[in-house]
């Protein structure tokens, strides 16, 4: 049971909002020690694991390109484009992105999106502009909420879209694990079972975005209430 001490440290550390990097290192060291390694072996194990996981940080290679785009005015372009569309609201725009992201992910095109590639340079500024063209400058608290919604849409649409694609990692993992336990399943059968949840995700999140629009309107269309007096 001592081996679970690392998990306790992680939960307590995240709850107490201590710097997550410190929490992770302490948790890793504790877990290694609890498993009977000495401190040198634990540090070496952590070092090896970190080195083997470098591929995860390769995604930052796109930052110089995104930075150049922002410097050349991509965010302003995105804003002007949306400000010219009368029918655009934050919720409708995000639902359109949700649908596109979910469909492309279902076709295996998971790289057409993402927080650094799409949300920060395009989707978040567009969602903000849709609110600003209706209600004027956004109070900071609502700007923050709109941005958080934009990030949430990217995640939810991706998670509940990609499992419809038969060659995605999660489907292959299920097939492989069940095969290792003597159960043969076809990837296509697994992908079919992802359809009901994909539809439910679109419906539930669509309703929530619709209600987000309503909350925005209620909070911001009366000038006296602007500034986050609600909630």
């Amino acid at each position: 049971m001592l081996i679970l001490s690392g998990i306790v440290v992680v939960m307590a550390g995240f709850a107490a909002r201590i710097n997550p990097l410190l929490v992770i290192v302490v948790a890793a060291l504790l877990t290694g020690l609890a498993a009977g390694l000495n401190i040198i072996e634990v540090v070496a194990a952590l070092g090896k694991a970190f080195n083997d996981s470098r591929y995860i940080s390769v995604v930052w290679l796109i930052l110089p390109a995104i930075g150049l785009l922002e410097r050349a005015g991509l965010q302003q372009r995105a804003r002007t484009l949306i400000a010219g569309l009368r029918s655009a609201t934050t919720g409708r725009l995000l639902m359109l992105y949700f649908t596109l992201r979910q469909i492309t992910a279902a076709l295996g095109l998971t790289s057409l999106g993402g927080h650094a590639q799409m949300v920060r340079p395009l989707i978040a500024p567009m969602a903000e502009a849709a609110a600003e063209s209706r209600f004027g400058p956004l109070p900071d608290i609502w700007r923050q909420r709109v941005r958080a919604q934009a990030a949430a849409v990217d995640n939810i649409a991706l998670f509940f879209g990609e499992d419809l694609f038969v060659a995605i990692g999660s489907i292959l993992l299920i097939v492989g694990f069940l095969a290792g336990n003597g159960v043969t399943v076809a990837p296509l059968a697994l992908a079919l079972w992802a359809i009901p949840t994909a539809l439910a995700a679109a419906l539930i999140h669509g309703i929530r975005l619709h209600r987000f629009d309503r909350r925005l309107r209620r909070a911001l269309s009366v000038p006296d209430l602007a500034g986050g007096a609600t909630r």
Partner: protein, 316 residues
């Protein structure tokens, strides 16, 4: 052949560029902290395979101490990005569009074409790492287009990249650190302990087993930050012995919907840093957990849906 080695070399050079630019930035309040942090990260990419495990471990601890003890300054207001539009520097709409689309399209083309690109019987792109190599090519093409079509100075690629990198700050390291923690957990045998514990707690009828499996997938995913790590543990601990073997459930529906229940957990945990904490940093949100809060109602509703769906179909 372009493989993981070339990708790490390019990434290492980029981080080294950020470190150098930080060190030369006299106006920066914490220039040496940033220079050391990105410099060590660059070292890991350039020489990580030659350092040995212990030195890599020391490198990790040094990185974490710099970040954890206040060696990095919070993101500064954009120095260059705010001005260009005013200076008449705005790129043409078409140039912006082409450059912005270059990253996803080149990545996609690279992934699709990798198996066919050959030169003298040798693959040009390492098929095992086609996605990462293609992402690097996409980023490189986009930078080139940015310099040519958008007429940006080459220096801006480093400066703007560093500006964004500093906006993300130490959170940039979180996904990789969490993966390393997961590997240490696996080495120490945390998974089987949890699986056994969950299996012992989850006694009951067919429907109670489904609820235990679905909730277990979501909860253990929240702990590990990753449904892929939770799936084998929970399926071996509860799914296969109880739902399938004891009560005759269908492993296909159980596995598929179980994984989706895990994804609901991913939406609710700071341990899934690349999905939940990194975007909060990228979007400059004051509340580190703002994205999780925005996702919480959808995640809970979908978890309930998934468990109900599994209960409905798994024993048909």
């Amino acid at each position: 052949m372009i493989g993981l080695g070339s990708v790490y070399l390019v990434a290492g050079l980029m981080f080294a560029g950020f470190a150098l630019a930080s060190a030369r930035d006299r106006s920066h309040p914490k220039r040496w902290g940033h220079a050391a942090f990105w410099g060590l990260f660059a070292l890991s990419f350039l020489l990580g395979d030659r350092l040995g495990d212990l030195a890599n471990g020391a490198l990790v601890i040094a990185l974490v101490l710099i970040a954890g003890l206040g060696g990095l300054a919070p993101a500064r207001p954009p120095a260059t990005a705010a001005t260009p539009a005013a200076a008449g520097n705005t790129g043409s709409g078409l140039g912006l569009l082409v450059t912005a689309l270059a990253i996803p399209l080149v990545t996609l083309a690279g992934v699709l074409a990798a198996p066919r690109l050959q030169w003298r019987e040798m693959p040009l792109i390492d098929p095992r790492h086609a996605t990462l190599v293609s992402l690097m090519l996409g980023a490189a093409v986009a930078v080139l287009l940015g310099l040519l079509l958008l007429r940006q100075p080459p220096r801006a690629a480093v400066d703007e990249g560093r500006r964004l990198m500093d906006t993300v700050g130490w959170a940039a390291l979180l996904p990789q650190m969490l993966a390393a923690l997961g590997a240490v957990f696996a080495l120490a045998g945390v998974g089987p302990v949890i699986g056994e514990l969950a299996g012992r707690l989850a006694i009951g009828g067919p429907y109670a087993s489904v609820v235990a499996y679905g909730l277990g997938m979501a909860l253990f995913t929240m702990i590990m930050g990753n449904a892929f790590a939770a799936f084998p543990v929970m399926t071996a601990g509860i799914g296969l012995p109880l739902v399938v073997q004891a009560h005759g459930g269908d492993p296909v529906a159980m596995g598929a919907i179980g994984m989706l229940s895990g994804f609901c957990g991913t939406l609710m945990t700071p341990m899934a840093a690349n999905f939940n904490l990194v975007p909060a940093a990228l979007l400059e949100l004051h509340d580190r957990h703002a994205v999780i809060k925005a996702q919480l109602p959808t995640a809970l509703a979908l978890l309930a849906f998934n468990i109900a769906l599994m209960a409905l179909v798994v024993y048909r």
